[in-house]
Symmetry: none
DNA sequence: GATGAATGAGCCTTCATTCAT
DNA sequence: TATGAATGAAGGCTCATTCAT
């Protein structure tokens, strides 16, 4: 029988994660010390270790929360009958998020996770699963498009979907390095790809 | 009057860098200790610090050498008159490298650098300049394609080039996370994009 | 709300300083490693660095505490109306301290500080201020003596005070090098100086 | 049969010592690295180790050379029949040297040696012997003065001599810490002492 | 003798983690 | 549960010294 409401537990956990994410976005995982997280959260070392077994778990928990938020982005799309329109609206949601300061901060952490995935299997699974979801969604859309005739039947849905996701990942990288990539510019490039999907007549 | 040829200096430097790159690919920058580099290189701490001021400089030097090797990849393309063929051959060179073990190891380090670029301005400049080069090359090809009529005049060369590079970056990420992306699959997706470039709308 | 009284903080600080002083007296500042202080204090490295930022600060803190103890010595003198007697009793307090083992150990550290003052401005200020205090006191006594007629009006109080202090410093040096300087011998020499102060010329 | 003239040997040795003294005066013994001496001398590590077994020997050699130069100072006095005049001229030589930049630099090193004497027996012997010489000289003068009636017979020559030397040492300290001690001021104080010596009539 | 690249022991310092209160 | 002083293993780096040329 927990004396403290599990709700309070979750709130405290969330506080810590938020503080950690701020630190991680600012300095990266390995430059961030637990002391930094302590200062940022206003809590104590003991308290943090009461909620997480250590720094690694903190990173993984951040990975988990990022994962959830990315999924939420996908769910925003309006279920249109026009497959190309649906793809376009997914893209637009993604690119729009990338222009906002908060979205950018989240991507800074994401890039850390992408690198961390090379060493931490838990993180790699999070990252990979975070990519398979949109790929599966797009594959599904493409198949429907092929059925309806909107998309060239020679297109391999899996490869095309993977490439689209790859393109967005690359754009995230470039944005993070300070390159200017406007939503219009990126949508233009995306439309080229969509044109290719529909091209063979 | 140095008894040892200045040549030896460069060789020793290269030895250290190679050892460091192996360690970095294996464990990442921040998990790699100087002690690791010492063991890997068979040299001593003092010797390494005689050639590099510290770990940061070691990372930057690795970034510099990666930079050089990536540029070399671009130079391999045969200067064909057919713009689309040229783009395809650039893509093929890139993707081929990605299937080789050595290419993959180099990309593991590259991903570390991509993340490091968020914190180290020297690395960021290296990374950014390493991306502007292929973009400029592709922009040039696209312009020529538009002149010759092979490419849709509505295409914005800059955005399209950026998107192509982004796509390759994303594919690198996915490969590094253990996803299977065959050259054929990636070339197929690339061809979709090329079709979009050529499409009359 | 600290669970531990701030008092404990000061006690711990004092423990560290005492350990450091023992080490410094034994081996000098630069031969003493933090490791030595750790062993002597029975504490851990982290603990010491929680109270002092490094060795330099430790040295300065030692300088500060020496400073305080020296001031205390001066305060011991009984405020007699006879200026020469007052000077003599200051001298006696000083020389007496120099015969005790503890006083000698403290002087060993003081000599280190004297040398350190050449390089560390904080220490130099401590040392200089530690010398200006007795000089000011003696100047004051001499002026009073001149008013009362006990001391030759031609005497320049500042220079004479400085010379007296210098004499004591030199005696400290000689004692530290193992020379035998008895209190009687030193007092005899001091009396010669006092005789000079009183002399009609 | 040495292939190189022993003269050359000595010259090289002197070069090294001069470079070392400059470094030592600037940064102290323990802040000075052999590398510093190498740079200052323009020679190589191996060369220095060909002439000295290590840093400690270098310090001791510096101590030895200081020793010699101080003795030289004493020899400058003109052998007057007036004992008080002789003492005064010794004092003047000493104090004059202290106003010159070069004399000050030498004293900076001397202070290092004074501190070093606590730990290095060779240095302590040098320092002590460097003090006994002037003391012996002054004792001799005082005895002669007592014979001639110029100096109070109650004066204990040994203690008085020691005190005079002590006074000069203290003045050196104060000068090194940046205090302004003019020759006139110091001579005035010295004269007070001399007056004390002659005082009892 | 002279050179200077290389050595490696050992120093200072950090920081993830623990535990008595 | 929360606190935060204390721990101590381990990392980055320096520098006196050596030795092949």
């Amino acid at each position: 029988m927990p004396k403290v409401k599990p709700e309070t537990l979750a709130i405290r956990r969330e506080e810590i994660l938020q503080a950690a994410e701020i630190c991680f976005a600012r300095q990266g995982f390995h430059q961030t010390t637990i002391q930094d997280v302590i200062k940022q959260s206003g809590l104590s070392a003991g308290c943090i270790y009461g909620h997480f077994t250590g720094k690694e778990e903190l990173i993984q928990a951040i990975g988990e929360s990022r994962h959830g938020r990315d999924s939420a982005l996908l769910a925003l799309k309006d279920p249109s009958d026009d497959v190309l329109q649906s793809l376009r609206s997914i893209a637009r949601a993604f690119l729009g998020d990338l222009q906002k300061e908060e979205g950018l901060r989240a991507r800074r952490v994401a890039l850390q996770l992408w690198a961390e995935a090379l060493r931490d299997d838990v993180v790699r699974d999070q990252v990979v699963s975070g990519i398979r979801q949109p790929i599966a969604l797009i594959v599904d859309l493409l198949r429907r498009g092929q059925k309806s005739g909107a998309i060239d039947p020679h297109v391999q849905p899996r490869g095309a979907a993977r490439a689209m996701v790859a393109m967005f990942q690359g754009i995230v990288l470039q944005r993070l390095w300070g390159e200017t990539v406007s939503t219009a510019e990126a949508m233009h490039a995306f439309d080229i790809f969509l044109a290719g999907l529909a091209a063979r007549r």
